[in-house]
Symmetry: C2
Subunit: 228 residues, 2 copies
DNA sequence: TGCAAAATTCCGCGATCACAAAATACTCCC
DNA sequence: GGGAGTATTTTGTGATCGCGGAATTTTGCA
């Protein structure tokens, strides 16, 4: 039998240290805090984080398994550089997965989830007008995954996440190059239209907008982005 | 300057232990040697493999990152059971990725790769006639990935690999249930036709065959396979 | 000053230990 | 015999150590 509640305190949520390190590293990667080609050594990271190297090793291994990091011959982990070829490849694969996920999400999205997306879209626009790149990228991520999460396919969602884990680390780097000017991005921002098509339950329309979003972003960055 | 060669011996290829363990575990998974729901504890595995638990921990972490294993709340790794829902989800996602990969491979395949595929297809048929399930699954894997490898997209190939890492462990279990009778499989074997379409450089035909291959396998196993 | 050789530091890797929590085995009493 | 409570073992987790090799810095000679 369970004990009767004493003071009403819930259980203390505790997660393993390597999990915390993983999340920290993942966030650092996705927010562009790690330069391409940067070597990530477990000992240095451990000192920086104030832990032993074991949890760091675990986190690095997981990121490498997802191809977010690359392992050198000597075992060191680096954030691989983004070449035009790799970027092109990743975006092409995104085009395979994401419009499909969006199409399915459109026909399964709950009103609550749609409302949430609408709010993120508002925050997105205001971040763009404020020229706040970090906020823009963050909300863009939230918007897309808020949408894809409704697709009802855990495996497809996982694939998309691994793709973003590879592209994500470079978006901020790219964005920092056109003089912090997000007006160009605003012009090819389809989030409002996507919300509108979602509201109309127009699955194909949503999928098509997603495809344009990815294609336009691709062209824009291939033209203006600086690659290795 | 490099030393003049002494005896002409090449460098000894050595790979880290955790890499060896990873490959062993991965192979054990894909060949169906691990029962669903089975708990994989690092200490026991380490004893069985004759190593310390460190390399085993690394290997398990990597497999978990790829969702080939699932982590319980207490941190133990288990091979998750295959439910009808999960199987359905994985096969649906396969349908998104694999026909596309096949279509691209069709237009990029070299004659040498095609020749190799032809030989695998022959081995495949003979394995089916010999009722050799293990050989059949092995050659089926080689055939599909021999095909996909030609698609020219590392990222797409990686996604497909993660999908197979989740479905693979259960195929043998399924196959062992219809009385070792592979005739049913032979009837919906499209490998010869795929080779033929590849030879004719009929990309759409190849993609369509792949889709039928996946769909038929899906229906067959949903009908005859035993799930959790 | 330039540059190669030597000394030192850094780092991946694997083993081992300690600790707490969980799982399992065991005991003992009804 | 059965079940509750206890003892023992197992296991995840993280820290630390040692080894060998790689990378870096220092040194010393021309």
């Amino acid at each position: 039998m369970t004990q009767p509640p004493l003071i009403g305190l819930g259980p203390i949520q505790t997660q393993p240290l390597h999990e915390v390190v993983y999340e920290r590293l993942r966030h650092a990667l996705m927010s562009g805090q790690i330069a391409p080609g940067r070597k990530l050594t477990s000992r240095k990271l451990a000192r920086e984080l104030g832990t032993s190297d074991m949890p760091v090793r675990s986190a690095l291994l997981r990121l490498q398994a997802l191809q977010a990091l690359h392992q050198l011959d000597n075992g060191s982990m680096i954030l691989p550089a983004m070449t035009r070829e790799r970027f092109s490849d990743l975006m092409t694969t995104r085009l395979i997965c994401e419009p499909t996920a969006a199409r399915r999400a459109a026909s399964r999205m709950t009103p609550a989830a749609l409302l949430n997306l609408r709010q993120v879209a508002i925050a997105l626009k205001s971040a763009a007008q404020d020229q706040d790149i970090d906020a823009y990228l963050l909300h863009n991520h939230d918007f897309k995954f808020g949408l894809y999460a409704a697709c009802g396919s855990p495996s497809l969602l996982f694939l998309i996440e691994t793709l973003w884990l590879q592209v994500g680390p470079f978006l901020r780097q790219f964005s920092g190059q056109f003089d912090n000017d997000l007006r160009g991005i605003l012009e090819l921002d389809y989030h409002d239209e996507i919300v509108e098509r979602l509201n109309a339950k127009d699955s194909n329309g949503v999928a098509e907008l997603l495809e344009r979003d990815i294609r336009d972003g691709y062209s824009f960055l291939m033209e203006h982005g600086q690659f290795e």
